[in-house]
């Protein structure tokens, strides 16, 4: 039951969190997974199968775009993701809504405790 709640919460904010990481710096998929793990540890321990659909959804909606980077030396070309201007605006909206949401939830729950 708790797992399901955590999963649903994670799913809800994943677009925003991934968009934030890409908005800070152009990233490869694997780097995004590592970066989320580095910042948070356990909670956002993502698998590729979870991250890719988020990336494709963001790319299809114009929030991010992908490009190929030529490999240095003998390394193969790699696909990386960049946030668009629209993506950065969308992130700001998400962040604002998230704060409002957290505020509302806190008000409801803390009022019940008093």
């Amino acid at each position: 039951m708790t797992d399901k709640f955590v999963q649903q919460m994670k799913k809800g904010v994943l677009d925003m969190v991934v968009l934030r990481v890409i908005a800070e710096k152009d990233n490869y998929g694997y780097e995004i997974i590592q970066e989320l793990e580095r910042r948070d540890g356990e909670f956002f321990h993502l698998k590729e199968g979870t991250l890719y659909p988020v990336l494709y959804r963001l790319e299809d909606s114009g929030c991010i775009c992908s490009a190929w980077q030529e490999g240095q030396g003998r390394s193969a070309p790699k696909k990386y993701y960049t946030a668009t201007e629209q993506g950065k605006e969308v992130y700001n909206q998400y962040w604002q809504q998230w704060n409002e949401f957290v505020g509302c939830v806190r008000t409801i729950c803390e009022e019940g405790e008093q």
């Binding site: 998929g29 694997y30 780097e31 590729e48 199968g49 890719y52 990336l55 003998r74 390394s75």
Partner: protein, 235 residues
């Protein structure tokens, strides 16, 4: 290095083969997966470590398939198109046959057989005229339903539960047509004005009817497969 590349490419190929996604989506996953594996290799990991992290090709693909349910597309295999074509051919050939039979009946007007002595008819068989084409139509419909059910059963991925349900319904309808065909085959015999119904075994098992009956059993087979697949999907 070459061996490492071979292992990497083999792994990616195997994952993609097990992906139940559209061609375009497979390409997207493939490019990201290749980049991710490349980065892992550059960080000093070997393919065995990577497989441990990502899972076997089958496991990795299964994870993508579950997570990307919205992107999954119903795939109609070559076999499913064959069954659809068979359904169309069956329907068309029955229509042609019916038109041909009508023309022959009109020309010869020999649908009613009168059997009896010189003092008057004792029995009039009208079964050939009425039940013949009706039975053919019913069994033809059963075969078409069977082929259509097979078409949906062979369609993979995507909304497979929905496809199995459609196949199940079509199979049941096909079986009903098949049973109705047998019931309609009971020849009606008028003996001295009163109607009698009895099973004419000899005419039921004519060469043409046996062939039609065998093909009409297709819905029975598709029903069994549809039930099995539905049970498997629910598990």
């Amino acid at each position: 290095m070459i061996q490492k590349d071979d292992k990497k490419e083999k792994y990616i190929r195997q994952v993609c083969r097990n992906l139940q996604l559209s061609h375009e989506m497979k390409k997207r996953v493939e490019s990201d997966l290749r980049t991710d594996i490349e980065l892992r290799l550059e960080s000093g990991k070997n393919m065995a470590d990577i497989i441990r992290e990502l899972g076997t090709p089958r496991e990795a693909a299964a994870y993508f398939n579950v997570e990307m349910t919205a992107e999954r597309k119903t795939k109609f295999s070559g076999l499913s198109w064959f069954f659809l074509a068979a359904a169309v051919v069956t329907r068309v050939s029955f229509i042609c046959y019916y038109i041909f039979l009508n023309q022959v009946n009109d020309r010869l007007n020999e649908g009613i057989s009168i059997i009896g002595g010189a003092d008057g008819p004792t029995s009039i068989f009208i079964a050939g005229k009425i039940s013949g084409p009706a039975v053919d139509w019913l069994w033809g419909a059963a075969i078409v339903c069977g082929f259509l059910a097979a078409f949906f059963l062979c369609a993979g991925y995507g909304k497979s539960e929905k496809n199995h349900r459609i196949a199940l319904i079509l199979s049941v309808i096909g079986i009903l047509f098949f049973v109705a065909g047998i019931v309609f085959h009971l020849p009606i015999t008028y003996v001295n004005g009163s109607a009698e119904v009895h099973l004419n075994i000899k005419s039921l098992f004519s060469r043409k009817n046996i062939l039609l009956m065998v093909f009409s059993l297709i819905p029975v087979i598709t029903l069994a497969i549809a039930i099995y697949k539905r049970k498997k999907t629910k598990k």
